[in-house]
């Protein structure tokens, strides 16, 4: 499977997809927000620092979303953005309807 297929299928097949790095506090905060606010929705977490193709995935995410940084979050196939974007969209009440949409 190519990096493109891996990333595109992870986003297509999961309600919540988080591209992260294990030791990054911003990534942890984003993962924690989904775990605490949406405990019943399984999030697909891809830890880029634990994979051989981590750099290639980040490069493809840059191409796809114009964002190279982690965390890089998708909900219901929509690109939310980074940690700050997740918190902002949650506070604005925009995240919950996206997560809970059929």
């Amino acid at each position: 499977m190519s990096v493109k297929q891996l990333v595109d299928s992870a986003i297509a097949d999961n309600k919540i997809t988080i591209f992260s790095k294990t030791w990054c506090s911003y990534s942890k905060k984003a993962k924690n927000l989904f775990a605490s606010e949406f405990p019943d929705v399984e999030a697909k977490i891809i830890e880029l620092d634990e994979r051989e193709d981590g750099d290639a995935i980040q490069a493809y995410l840059l191409e796809k979303t114009k964002q190279r940084t982690v965390p890089n979050v998708f909900v219901n196939q929509q690109h939310i953005g980074g940690g700050d974007d997740v918190v902002a969209s949650f506070k604005q009440g925009k995240l919950r309807p996206l997560v809970e949409a059929a």
Copy 2:
């Protein structure tokens, strides 16, 4: 100069010393807090990811402070801790007297 001398002299010779990583948002937040709240006080910033001895410095900081993570912040030779500690001590009004002490 040994890593121990480098770290100990940076802490002794500077009012504010921040051990950081350039691409880390938590490190950026700590650096920004000092830059905006104490613009007249020069902070010594040591970017561990830009140095050959970065890992060795982190290992020595772990020995010295029991904290391996970045940011690792000292004010007036006192160990403040990480990003969350800096914000907490600032909000509690404890940071400013430390920075402004003779």
